[in-house]
Symmetry: C2
Subunit: 233 residues, 2 copies
């Protein structure tokens, strides 16, 4: 599908998933308005990765939004709680982990919605994944459908009769291995991406948090070596 | 209904509506966690009003969240666009006004949702109104229902089997006059509240924007004089 240069807002973390999604959306012909959040996360070096990725794909514009989710606490990604390491696959598949940030995707998507409305963009891309995910409630297909329904009632579109806003989730049903295969077919350079929850002071991925473990397993399943730098694997 | 000291998050602007709602929720027995936004609005003196009101009602805590909606532009409340004055009732009832801030209630409620999840609060109060409202899509009953459905899928509750989160909108179907009657029965001191979109430098209400016009008409209908200070009426 080539949509010409229709505007879309895309949530870009600079990780493997959102970078693959960006390459996919650009290949579809969208003019991308990328949005990245500095939300008090431990892994703020992902902001640098998002900048590198946005530059590599020639996005139309890229906004870094400063928000402070630390006022709420409650997550290992924003509070002084240790990020779990070397968890087994079955432990990762069970329950909601301490790295869950309350309502994070809802807050991020709300900002995307505001920007989409100002731009007149009809699509918002978010790289949520329901296969190799970490047990976050706000990555499930039923959540995505409910946000889209709410978003269409929240804004001018439903009042003024425009086409409904689409919440696009091209990665929702792909395994990490399939995402990497898609990225490879699009020529994605994964060396500039960053997925780790707990990088060291120089920005190197730890290789042992849930995000690193899922990513490394994805590359192994795809028969590739992850080109990104790690402190240790 | 007396709910004991069950925790609730309440969106507090310091205006007539949210102040009346606060008095109502306190009378119901809720322990209130009030949340106010400094979002680049022209009328930042409403933050002072929110502080006065929170103090007057002995809320459990009161958080002022700094967010910057000016990066999006697109509204007379946040951009360099004139606030309309002295509009007729029929003009106010038609279309979406320039004071509409894209996705504002969705962004506000998303933060409330995050805080409610961290607190374990089961209720969020928002003073939206579908009667004497200003044509904002995110004040309609169908929007409120859709946000509540999304919120319950976004968070731990639906995964862990807790009671659903309730989005409480006690003012939704009341006219401004009925809201004032409710507040009067609860002993609300409206002199400390602030509703104006475009106050002067000393913080006095303009008396002529849509918010002032609706408020002054409400007091007139209730057979009262608004005790709040105005630059001119």
């Amino acid at each position: 599908m080539d949509v010409g240069h229709r505007a879309a807002v895309l949530l870009l973390s600079g990780g493997l998933d959102s970078t693959t999604m960006l390459a996919h959306a650009v290949a579809e012909g969208y003019a991308i308005h990328a949005m990245t959040f500095r939300y008090g996360q431990r892994h703020a070096t992902e902001i640098d990765a998002a900048r590198r990725v946005a530059r590599a794909y020639g996005v139309t514009d890229h906004v870094i939004v400063d928000i402070d989710l630390r006022v709420f606490g409650g997550s290992a990604l924003t509070a002084e709680i240790a990020v779990p390491k070397d968890r087994t696959a079955s432990a990762m598949a069970t329950g909601i982990p301490i790295t869950y940030v309350p309502a994070r995707n809802t807050i991020f998507l709300s900002y995307c919605l505001a920007w989409a409305e100002v731009l007149g963009a009809g699509d918002i891309f978010i790289g949520v994944n329901a296969v190799d995910y970490s047990g976050y409630p706000d990555c499930r297909p039923e959540y995505v459908a409910a946000f889209q329904a709410m978003a269409n009632l929240a804004t001018r579109r439903s009042v003024e009769g425009d086409a409904p806003l689409q919440l696009r989730t091209p990665l929702l049903h792909r395994s990490k291995c399939e995402i990497i295969d898609l990225g490879r077919s699009l020529g994605v350079d994964y060396s500039i991406t960053m997925s780790c929850y707990d990088p060291d002071e120089s920005g190197l991925a730890c290789g042992h948090c849930d995000a690193c473990a899922l990513r490394l397993k994805g590359f192994a399943d795809a028969g590739m070596t992850d080109p990104a730098p790690y402190a240790r694997r």
